[in-house]
Amino acid sequence: MNILILGLGTGIIFGIIIQKIGASDYDTILGAFRLKDLKIPKVVLLAISIGSVGIAMLNRFGVTPLYLLPFPVFGIVIGGIIFGSGMALSGYCPGSTLVAISEGKIDAIFCLLGGLTGALFYALIYPYIRFYTEELLNLGKISISSLLGINHLYASLIFVALILASLYFFDRTKDASKK
């Protein structure tokens, strides 16, 4: 199958999921940052725990590689801080912006324009900062399994158990506190 068509189809499904979980909704995202509505964090945690076990199994059977990313500390930490403040300001992330636009949210168009401007700005200053954001203190392509020196599938099973336990107990205490 043509890779481009595969990408399109994958994206369409992704867009439907983003829309159906409410991730393109400013009020929902800010609800998460204001610690009033933790739906999106719970969805993401559940999804990555399920995903990690599935991918670990596929990897175990030699079907898919572990696409590891490096850990350049300054790039990750400073980039994350900048990203988080932007997400709380706009209420959107790079993917949900597009879903929001498709839903008729005009402000998301401005978010997209800002994003393209940010991409241009980054490209312009990249040569001057890349040493700091990519090379200085780069811990390499480490995963939880490689860091702890344990089998990746076991690590993912422990990961999902911890997340499911946390989600379960969090939900229970939340319900208990409601009169």
Binding site: G7, G51, L69, P72, V99, T117, L124, A155
Partner: protein, 167 residues
């Protein structure tokens, strides 16, 4: 408000999607496609800019991920139409309650926010899709740290914007 999936249903479906997408080709990502878009736009505007900038040169190919991003837009469109979407809007409810009725101010917040998310994502080498969802599902330490920093930073920014204590 349209009928949205519960967090359990959404989490399970998203989790299965992550597995299938990764298996079908690659883990999903979005932010680098903004760089690709700028790169391709720059070719049209100034070939000197495009040709002299190593970053734009690096992100100059249209591929699977760029089609994914196009697909995300259409997926949102399909889902919104089928669910009975609520048409054009400019100001989100909770933003309006806090900041008022000025569309111009809302558009400014959105523009600045957009600038920061893509700038931050490119600096970190990924975004909510690339790092948190894909990197998280691969148990990548850097991605999980990114996710943590995003959430902490977002909480602080929300506190500043909405001037409330943290519950």
């Amino acid at each position: 408000m349209q009928n949205r999936w519960s967090w359990i249903k959404g989490g399970i479906i998203l989790g299965i999607f992550i597995i299938l997408a990764t298996w079908s080709y690659r883990p999903v990502g979005v932010s680098s496609s903004y760089s690709t878009a700028v790169s391709l736009i720059s070719v049209l505007i100034s070939e000197d800019l495009f040709g002299s900038n190593p970053y734009l040169l690096k992100y100059s190919e249209w591929g699977w991920q760029e089609m994914l991003v196009i697909g995300i837009f259409f997926g949102g469109l399909i889902s919104c139409r089928v669910s009975g979407g609520h048409g054009i809007s400019t100001i989100p409810d909770s933003w309006g309650k806090r900041f008022g009725a000025s569309s111009a101010l809302r558009f400014l917040h959105a523009f600045l926010g957009g600038f920061l998310i893509i700038f931050g994502a490119r600096m970190a080498g990924g975004c909510t899709s690339g790092h948190i969802i894909s990197g998280g599902s691969l148990l990548i330490v850097g991605s999980l740290v990114f996710g943590l920093m995003v959430y902490i930073s977002g909480i602080i920014m929300a506190k500043i914007l909405y001037n409330e204590g943290i519950r």
